[in-house]
Symmetry: C2
Subunit: 334 residues, 2 copies
């Protein structure tokens, strides 16, 4: 049995999802020889710390005691960064919220983790969309593992699919639907012959779109994910600000109907290949593997040997994203 | 640099594809620290043997000198089984043709390879569809690796996707289109409103269907792949003879049109879950991830954490299948 001491930095939906999955999969993990012991958890208000292992059930109850996002994980006055720099552990699970302008606390957390020789598994897009090369460099210099499947497409596995399962293939291009909110709005506009504004309102009511939807509907979220793929798979050194992005806010139900009459659907497609990286609405033939509806994410990976491989999955959800994090953890230590 | 001595047993389309890919990817493999040295190749007529490494270019030329399948790889009078039992090497790449009734020479080859402590990577469905548990048992007893991504869906990665990338997930069900020939015929029947017989003839002309198409159109090929998934992922002990199978030969263009009018397509779907394993035609909604056309294969994997993940890819082709074999080889030795 290998004992891995871990911290969870950031305890919103994804961090809580990780704690739930660790509880649920404890026996499975021990069966494959892994004892993942969470020695510290931090949220923005406080921390829970125990070198013998934090009681995850208790922390989850405490966090949720006063309603969603009202509680805190504990009364210790440690920040995430203080945990990373002062408490002995091997693995930092970084699940603070994405800050796409500065990288936020996540950027400082990841730098510090690598400088202390710790491995990082993260769902936080901001630092990777802004500073991927720097972070991968510090990780490599310090012999740390750096895994981030959860940053692109939630539970739709793509980075590990390419690096592990398609090993040996050159990747020619990746194109896909990388934002479930846009996919939902476009799918519903087509189904209901309704306007963008109507279906945005519907998706906000359902909790699929945020109150401020710009990050999704302007294509910024898709652009961030595409940049992570561009940098990690194609070895580029791009930031999301370099990308040619068009969102979905100008699409009319009339244009969707015209497309449908010709056997097409309209999707917000991100595309990366050697000399190109862009996000914008595109026509996709009905029956094409990219023509999936609802909130699904999908990516088509064009390779030199295996031809084109397409993967579809849920792009969001706390347990789904936690699943990607746990798979990364298993890949490092198994 | 790790030197892996390998044999290629069976030198038809897939075996030749493996040789081509090893030539093409030699530099890449050496960059990741792997020197795959092929010390023996056998086809049904002879063998090429060289402890210092067979010249793959020369062997490919020799094999193809007298037209497709006319030549042989070499004049040594070794059978594949003799190579496996008498020549020192670590890895047997078993690419003899699938024999679904007895397992064919592949079954004896795999048994012998494991008994001699060698690893096996294979594209040969027969032995796995008949004797999976026995083979996995001998492999385990002898500390051998046994990998067979290429047996299910060619270049559509599914076994390694589940075992590696979705690690930590319980698999609830797998359903999918596991035979490209049936998918092609059904897709074309719908597009052309044509009969099964017409589109079978077309697919035979295009080389998509065999002269004797029964193995594909009766659902036997899909059933074999499903059995391999059932045994390797769900821990069942099934053979393809246990499966409830209906093929596509009785499907009429009229039934496809009726389905289409209601927003469905008809696909030959294989499905496996805890208490169920079956192959038969099913209605799939247009826009559903399983509703892919042409010769594509597709599989939807329902999991407890990641939700449903769907993978689509080319189910056949010598280089595509060789790609799956090379990925397995890399996974073992990297």
């Amino acid at each position: 049995m290998k004992t891995i001491r871990a911290s969870i930095i950031g305890f919103g939906a994804v961090g809580q999802g990780v704690a739930e999955v660790l509880l649920q999969k404890d026996e499975y993990l021990k069966n494959i020889g892994l004892d993942i012991k969470v020695v510290a958890i931090a949220d923005s208000k406080g921390a829970a710390i125990d070198p013998d292992g934090v009681d995850l059930s208790k922390v989850l109850s405490k966090k949720r005691a006063n309603g969603k996002d009202k509680g805190t994980v504990g009364s210790e006055k440690y920040t995430g960064l203080e945990i990373i720099t002062t408490i002995d552990h091997e693995l930092v699970i970084e699940t603070t919220p994405t800050d796409i302008d500065t990288g936020g606390v996540g950027l400082a957390n990841m730098r510090a983790a690598f400088e202390h020789g710790r491995d990082v598994v993260t769902s936080n897009k901001g630092p990777l969309a802004l500073k991927y090369r720097e972070l991968a460099g510090i990780a490599s210099e310090n012999g740390s593992n750096f895994k981030f499947e959860a940053t692109v497409g939630g539970a739709m596995p793509i980075i590990n699919l390419i690096r592990e399962v398609l090993a040996g293939n050159d990747i020619i291009s990746i194109e896909g639907i990388l934002n479930g909110t846009c996919n939902y709005i476009l799918t519903r506009m087509m189904e209901e012959q309704a306007s963008y504004e109507q279906m945005l309102a519907e998706s906000q009511e359902l909790g699929i779109a945020e109150t401020d939807p710009a990050y999704d509907v302007e294509g910024i979220d898709a652009a961030c994910k595409l940049v992570i793929l561009a940098n990690s798979i194609f070895g580029m050194d791009a930031t999301y600000k370099d990308i040619d992005v068009t969102g979905i806010t100008k699409i009319t139900p009339e244009s969707l109907m015209l497309a449908q009459n010709d056997g097409y659907v309209v999707k917000l497609i991100g595309e990366v290949r050697k000399d190109l990286i862009r996000v914008g609405p595109r026509l996709v033939p009905v029956g094409h593997p990219l023509a999936v509806g609802g909130t699904l994410n999908v990516a088509s990976i064009q390779t030199d040997l295996a031809g084109t491989v397409t993967i579809t999955g849920k792009g969001a959800g706390s347990i789904e994203t936690a699943s990607a994090i746990i798979s990364d953890v298993i890949a490092i230590y198994r």
